[in-house]
Structure formats: structure tokens, C-alpha cells
Symmetry: C2
């Protein structure tokens, strides 16, 4: 039987929504990578009873592996190690070597913050070195050690205990996955493969139709676990399959390709951001943006190495800045308004000129919630992408959602327009839920 | 007994980490707001067995309310309504009025996307109108109706069934909370109060010490549920308590205030972003940023109404842009390097001048992972905030974490520096883990 896993995120601050959990989804992907199917992610507060209940349910459901995050810190509400020890039927013991190791890690912090309470630090240090007997210790990345705890009685789940901060958890997961205890618990995991197709510019219901059509055509979809979802304005079709089902996946991918050639932009897992970065090799790009307020520049500089292609950006929020810093003609703004395809083009051209860039992006719109009019409602955003040679792709769209949605979605639209320009597709008609002019966008 | 709740997030795309769940934390806060304690958030895939198991565990744990999100769409893997009906011991039935209502909602989409498969849409529409008998229907915000399903047998949890997209779920939650069925299930919920204190510039361990000291001083902390967490570089102390414990909270807040007056910046739940927005009333701010790549401008324009105070920004990624667009002296860059407190000051001054702003922010640093040197390592970031009158707050910091951490954390540091300047505290020494010069930052 294939081993299945549960992920248990602990922390009242996560349960109550004060901070967002990033570990659950990350661990889920890593477990899938090693062929372990994840049945459930649970989030509980720092209450021993709730922690124990969650662990017990996962054991009752027959899960072979449980990965926990959080509750390994120095404070009294950090209880995970002790509860997992109890759950696994193992005594707690002080690990001298570990106590010394944590002491070494804390030493620079003690020097850095003069005036700390040294006794309190020593007590915390010792607390973190008390672990279930027989557990494999994972060397701390921060100050908290991780643990791999096999079942005490020989049956039941193996529990991987990791700290809460993602930058500690992520490297320590690699250590955990390499332990004998984890390998034993996850023995029998099949080697999954994953195929990802990404589309931009069609509604999710069209993909549902395509799946139905593929089934009617006799494709072996039952061998594939297909998930579709809308993600930042794009549709992602993620498919998990075991190696023998590779021909079924290839047939499915060909079917999607044939029906959606104009909107399918990625079959190799690459994001539009990665594709744009590759297409920009040897070129530079600059941005002049208004309603996105810096998010387009931030997105282009999100990746390491972006200084090779990102020339710079101007956040021209006011008309004055559009004129003085980007060089938009004030008479144009007067005539057609700041939110217009004409001003978007002038912003894109201005970005090219001011930064001596090969490609310029102009974005101007109404992110809301205020500032909309009947003529130009909230969600109306005008985009233009220009090349130094004078090519343009320009369009107006009416984007759904709140302020944050409109701002974020706008950067996705702009990225796809940059991709089209860089692929030499400036002349092709734009398909999808948008028109090329403000008037057309508003008709929809 | 106080009613407790479970939150059940469904969707293989959430479980597998393809998209991040935002509903769990949001629902958790809303349930707390109405006095219902959340015991657990669970995420399961679109597998009927796993959904049923999760519901059953929550019933076994004695939870009075379960709120689900997702699985209400038109596709075959959208199973939540049917499974909840089965779990609650209720027959499924077609609600004619609801079918008609969904048809009305879909009509504009059908017009907008010519060429859709109308039979498929009709089948989807009907599927979404099949609901458990006796459930209260929540009017759709998108196309999916929500449900409040009381237990069929009279005992067991009441299940609130909501759609997955946050912008549909959030307004529909308000409808759900107002139903008689929900009010009956949550009867007996106490009215909680929440106090939030936010600090910037001290390590989390110092707060642990303060909690210990408060306990030793005899403060009634047992009446308070105190959670501390590190959030985007700030420490947040969130305290839940029932109204009779208000004096205990007041005493605790006074204790924290006395010990941490220099780092405590918020006691009313306000964020530094909100405080900066208020302090900027009647003033304008501009940004010239390098390593943050637009994120500082994006953060300042995140809130509605920011056009009142945000003059604009320049993302001066290259030295050329720092010189030509912000007016930094190229000889200065040559002499001290682009990542220096001097260039940060020149950027802040340039932002003031170019945008005729009252306040300017300059940020320059090495976000990594490449580009670091022994002298100027990855994570070194120089900040300056300038007023039009010539005041400055300038500092260099070495920030921990990866590229995304350094970029995000930098915006938090800059926000706090803007706050200090606007509060007329430019002359006060900076406390916390930073020095005022690059040399001091590197010593730590």
C-alpha cells in the first residue's frame, strides 16, 4: 500500500490567522516529490489536547508519516517535542551533545544583545535539548533542533518534527528526508511524475469542457490525477501520474495543446515570469506604472539576477509625475484622461526613452475602491508594451475583484503582453476576455 | 460549554500547494469575532473519503460548528454539498428557485463568451442547485450558493458550506453568520475581546522575558490568552480575554508599556502602515529605491486613498538610473559605492526633489543571493528618510533571510523610519539590532 502522510501545523498565531501558514503547502509539495501522498493538512493551536487529538486522528486514519511544524521554540507554549514523545510512547531525555550545540548557536546572539537574561537563555537552551529517546536529531538551522521520531511500539506513524520559521524548516526538511527513519516509514512510495500546463486568457469552465471532451474521445484520464485551478489570473492544469501512465499524459497534453494553442503558454512548468526573464536575455526592460504602484517593477525584480535585464521603473501615481518624470504630454492627459490606452502607450514609450530600454511597460488604471466613474469604472486598467523599435501591444481590460486583486492581476496581464512582444507576436490579435480599447472593454 | 468550531478547507490544488489557502485564517478570525473558539483548520483534497473522515473527526471531537470552503463549483470533483448532506443525514434535492437564480447569474457570462457549450452550462447550473433538504441557502456572490446545514438527527455539528474564492466566501460568511441556523449552533459563545500590541526593534526572546517577569510580579496572566509572534520583522502580542478580565489585560498592557516604551509602537491594533498614512495627512511622500525594486512604493500604495499622500517613486536599479533619474552624484557612487548610507541619503533627497514631496525615502542594498562581497555582504541594506526641511534619519542594517525576506523586511524598516521622522523623532538614537553606519552594521 502506498504510504500516506499528514501535515500538522501548530501555533495559536497560525490558527487564529495572525500569521499565514506557508509550511503546509510547501511540505505537501515536498512529500509528493518523494512519492508520499498527503491526505490532510491540519492546523491546531498551542493546546496539548488538540495536538494529541490531531496526531491520534492521523494514526487512526492509517497515515504512515506525520510532519509537524512549530512549537519547538524556547517558550512554555512550545510543546511539540514533548507531546510527540508522549504520542509515540517514548521517554523524554536530555541530549547533552545537543544542549552544547544549541549553546554554541546562541553565543553570538548573546554577544549581540547585551543585557539579556543569561539564566533564562540557559533554561531555554536546555528545554530545547530534551527530546524523545530514540529520536534522530536534525541539526538546527536556527536554534531549534528537528526530530524524526519512529513509533515506540513498532507500529504507528513516524513523526518528523520541524521548527515553524520557513527558512529553518525548509533546509531541515532535506535533512529529515535523508534519515533512515524517514526512509523506512515512507518505503513503498511510488515515484510520481508531475506535468503542468499553464494557460492565460480563457475561463476555467472551458477547461472543464476540454476534460469532458477528452473523456468522450476515449483518453485514459483515469490513470491521471488532474487538478485545474485559477492562479493569479492564469489557469494551471497540474497532473500527477505514475511512470507507466506517461503515454496517457502525453495524449492528454496533445489534446489540450490542439484545443488551446492560442492560450497555452507553458508545458514545462515554467512561469510567465521565468519565460519573460529568458526572453529578455541581452535586452533591458523598464516600467512606468500608475495604479499598480510599483508592483510591476517589484515583480520583474522578484527573481535573482534581474539586474541583468531590469533597467528601472517609475511609479507615476500623479499626473504631474507622468508628465515631468515620464514625459507624457499634458495635453494628451487633458484630452483623453490619465486612464486611457493613449496614456498607457505614452507611459510605455516614456519608460523606453527615460531608461534607454529595449522594452517599456505602461500601466494606468483605477484599482479602487474609490475613483471610479460611470465612464471609467473601478477595475478598468489600460496596458501598453512598447519596443524601442516602435512596436506596441496595447489593450484595455476591466478586471474583477478588489483593489489588491486588480493590482496583482494587472501585473499578470502585463507580463503576458511583454511575453507576446518579445516573441514577436505584436501583430497577432489578442484573444480572451479583453478588447483593445477602453470602449470595447466597457462593453463586456 | 463554549461552542468550538472546525474549519475544513477542501481542494486538491490547496492540499498539494498549488494555491495558498487564505480562507482558513480569515474564517478563524471571523469565528473568534463572534465568540466561537476555533479548534482546528483542516485541509483535504477533493476525495470523498478524506472529506468524510475530516467531518467525522470534528464531530467526534465535539465541535458545534464546521465551516467548509471550496468544492461548490460546477465540475465533477466539486463534491462538498453532497458529502455534507450525507454526513448530516439529509437527502439531496433540486431547489428550483435556486436553479433559476444561478441561471440568471450565468446569463451575462454566456453572452460574454460566445461559443460556450450551453448544455454543459445547464448541467453545471443544475448540479449547483442540488442541496441537502432543510438547508438554509446563502445567495451566491459568484455562481455558487452557500449552505447552512443543521444536523439531520438533532445532534452533531451544524455545517456552514461556503465557496472557495475568497471574494465570494467573505461576503457570504456575513450572510451565514446572520442565519438562525448558525446562531442556534453557536449559542452560548462568550463575547471575546482582543488586545493587540506591536513592537519593532527587539528580539522575540525579550518578550518571553517580559511575560515571565509579569508572572513573577503577580499579574493575572492566566485570565488572558496571550500569543506572541514575529510578523514581517515586527513582534505582535495578541491577547484574547473575556470582558471580566479587562483589568488583567490593562495591567498587562501597562507592564509591557513600561518595559518597552521605546519599541512599542501600537496598542490599538493599528499597523505601521496605517500610522504612516495618518501621519502623512496633508503631506506627500516619494520613494527612490533600488534593492526593494518597487516594493516600497507598492506598500505605500497598498491602501485605498494613498493617492492623497503618495507623490510617486523611482525604481533606480542601475547606477545610471540613480544618476539620471534621481540626481545622485556619480562621483559619490564612485567614491563610496551604490550600497552606502551616503547614496541612501542622496536617493532620499532626490525623491524629495524630483517629486516635490515633503518626505523622501531612499533604499539601496544587496538583496542577494548574488552580488555580495566580503565588504558588503548579501543582506546589507542602507536606508535614509529625508524631509524637505533637510532632516534625515539614516541607517545601515544587515538583514537575515533570503532575497524575498530581505526585500520585504526592508520595507518594514523603512516604514518605521518614516514613522519616526513624521513624529518628529529624527534626533533620537535608534535602538534595536542596527547601527547607523555600514561599518557598525557589519560589526554585528
Amino acid at each position: 500500500m502506498k504510504p500516506r502522510a499528514g501535515i500538522l501545523i501548530t501555533g495559536t498565531e497560525v490558527l487564529t490567522g495572525i500569521i499565514a501558514d506557508r509550511n503546509g503547502p510547501w511540505l505537501s509539495e515536498r512529500l509528493r516529490d518523494v512519492g508520499v501522498d498527503v491526505a490532510v493538512i491540519e492546523i491546531v493551536g498551542d493546546r496539548p489536547d488538540d495536538l494529541l487529538l490531531a496526531l491520534s486522528h492521523m494514526r487512526d486514519d492509517g497515515l504512515a508519516v506525520i510532519v509537524t511544524s512549530g512549537g519547538l521554540g524556547p517558550t512554555a507554549d512550545d510543546l511539540t517535542a514533548e507531546i510527540v514523545g508522549h504520542f509515540s510512547g517514548r521517554e523524554m531525555m536530555l541530549d547533552d551533545r545537543l544542549e552544547q550545540r544549541i549553546g554554541e548557536i546562541l553565543a553570538p546572539m548573546v554577544r549581540r544583545w547585551p543585557g539579556l537574561d543569561l539564566d533564562a537563555i540557559k533554561a531555554s537552551n536546555r528545554k530545547q535539548a530534551v527530546i524523545p529517546e530514540g529520536a534522530t536529531v536534525l541539526d538546527p538551522v536556527g536554534t531549534a533542533p528537528g526530530l524524526v521520531v519512529p513509533p515506540g511500539s513498532g507500529s504507528g506513524p513516524t513523526v518528523v518534527v520541524l521548527p515553524g520559521p520557513p527558512r529553518e524548516l525548509q533546509p531541515m526538511w532535506e535533512l529529515a528526508a535523508a534519515t533512515e527513519a524517514f526512509k523506512t516509514a515512507s518505503a513503498g512510495a511510488p515515484s510520481y511524475r508531475r506535468g503542468i500546463m499553464r494557460l492565460f486568457g480563457i475561463p476555467e469552465s472551458e477547461i472543464a469542457n476540454t476534460l469532458r471532451a477528452a473523456e468522450e474521445d476515449g483518453l485514459a484520464l483515469s490513470e491521471l490525477e488532474i487538478t485545474t485551478c485559477l492562479r493569479r489570473g492564469e489557469i494551471e492544469i497540474s497532473t500527477m501520474f505514475e511512470p507507466p501512465a506517461a503515454p496517457a499524459y502525453d495524449a492528454f497534453a496533445a489534446f489540450v495543446r490542439a484545443r488551446h494553442s492560442d492560450t497555452l503558454f507553458s508545458e514545462d512548468g515554467s512561469t510567465v515570469d521565468e519565460q519573460v526573464a529568458s526572453l529578455l536575455a541581452g535586452k533591458t526592460i523598464a516600467v512606468a506604472e500608475s495604479c499598480t504602484g510599483g508592483l510591476m517593477s517589484a515583480r520583474l525584480t522578484d527573481r535573482a539576477g534581474s539586474s541583468a535585464f531590469f533597467a528601472g521603473g517609475i511609479v507615476a501615481y500623479s499626473n504631474e509625475a507622468k508628465v515631468s518624470l515620464v514625459g507624457v504630454d499634458p495635453a494628451l492627459i487633458e484630452r483623453v484622461g490619465a486612464v486611457s490606452t493613449e496614456v498607457a502607450e505614452a507611459l510605455a514609450d516614456g519608460a523606453v526613452q527615460r531608461f534607454h530600454a529595449d522594452v517599456g511597460v505602461g500601466i494606468t488604471g483605477i484599482a479602487g475602491p474609490d475613483g471610479g466613474t460611470e465612464e471609467k469604472p473601478v477595475g478598468l486598467v489600460c496596458f501598453s508594451v512598447a519596443s524601442a523599435a516602435g512596436e506596441h501591444i496595447t489593450r484595455a481590460l476591466r478586471l474583477p475583484g478588489g483593489r489588491a486583486d486588480v493590482r496583482d492581476r494587472s501585473t499578470t496581464v502585463a507580463m503576458h503582453m511583454v511575453r507576446r512582444l518579445l516573441r514577436g507576436q505584436a501583430g497577432q490579435p489578442v484573444r480572451g476576455p479583453g478588447g483593445d480599447t477602453v470602449a470595447e472593454a466597457l462593453k463586456r
